[in-house]
Amino acid sequence: VQALAIFPPKRESSKVAKIFDGQEASKYFKDFYAPPSEDRNHRATSKEAVEPHDYMLSIYKTFSTAERLGLNASFFRSSKAANTIASFVDSGQDDLPLSPLRRQRYLFDVSTLSEKAEVLGAELRIYTKVSGNFRISETEPVDVQLLSCHDQQLLDSKTLDLQDSHRPKWEVLDVWEIFKELQHLSRGKPFCLELRAVLDTPERELDLQLLGLHRHGRPQQKKAILVVFTRSKKRQTLFSERREGRALLGLERKARERGPGVKASRRRRGT
């Protein structure tokens, strides 16, 4: 930590005004607010590593266009009156690509979500593409069920719409209630959901690969995402993201200096 005092230039004392005039002032502030080049390279590379999901890009384009037209974006139904919409990419891994996939686990690190913000909605978005050799009678419904990971308790279920099912599409599951409850029970832990697809007569679990729910060969853009809609009560300043990002960088740098094996404790939002 380095103490720093900034004296705004006073009209009378020209000496102070001289230090902060023109070019020097903008260079001074750029160095102060812009991270050291080493951090920037790290963040620059991490920015390239992060590929915004098409859904998030469309959210941004829709709402920023609305603002330019003088409309308040949070009035849109799709925004659920939220002023923050965070997306988390599934970090789960499949076991063996060959064995039938009866259950699929989705894992999301939601540690950066603000504890103070009010959760107004949560959606699980899964990209599905039914395989060509998946044959069921037209009338037989396929039920997609969501279970809790730790005790396989049934949390929610939804009948899949298999109309022209061979076209790839995004299945959107409303997991708002589930999310609020699980987060209340196990805050700080990754948010985990288990999915299975069930046919009725006789009741049997489908191989999820037939519905295109396996992960191998799935590009980043087609990974499942959890989208959480929140509204923060207190006014947020632009600097909170700035400060938070740099604080994490500082921790990572300290971890590197301490050497391998010592994991920097991730600075949780709000502490």
């Binding site: 991490s46 920015k47 998030m56 920023s64 603002e67 002023n83 950066t112 990002g245 939002r269």
Partner: protein, 120 residues
């Protein structure tokens, strides 16, 4: 001969333009914030500049306090500074950024664009 500034005014003598909204283009690259902000990388924020002198125009929506301070400034400028030209109405913008967990987040930030200026 006195050299003219960009407004064609006598050098050094700032014209007494009244409080009004002026352009201010913000470039997040210049701020070094393009490592966490995905979009927009720049936007028009505007700023307020100019003098709040007597009599105050109604469109400047002065507060009662600003009216009193302006009156006292007009009576005794050395004793009382004029009221300040500041934003009276601001609007939000949407920002798509990467948070500290490398997640992509959309957020609507309040008070990012000056809609109108006033004397305060």
């Amino acid at each position: 001969a006195a050299s003219k500034t960009r407004h064609g005014k006598r050098h050094g003598k700032k014209s007494k333009s009244r409080c009004s909204k002026k352009p201010l283009h913000v470039n997040f690259r210049d701020l070094g914030w393009d490592d966490w902000i995905i979009a927009p990388l720049d936007y028009e924020a505007y700023h307020c500049e100019g003098v709040c002198d007597f009599p105050l125009r109604s469109h400047l929506e002065p507060t009662n306090h600003a009216i009193i301070q302006t009156l006292m400034n007009s009576m005794n400028p050395s004793n009382m500074p004029p009221s300040c030209c500041a934003p009276s109405k601001l609007s939000p913008i949407s920002i798509l950024y990467i948070d500290s967990g490398n997640n992509v987040v959309y957020k609507q930030y309040e008070d990012m664009v000056v809609e109108s200026c006033g004397c305060r």
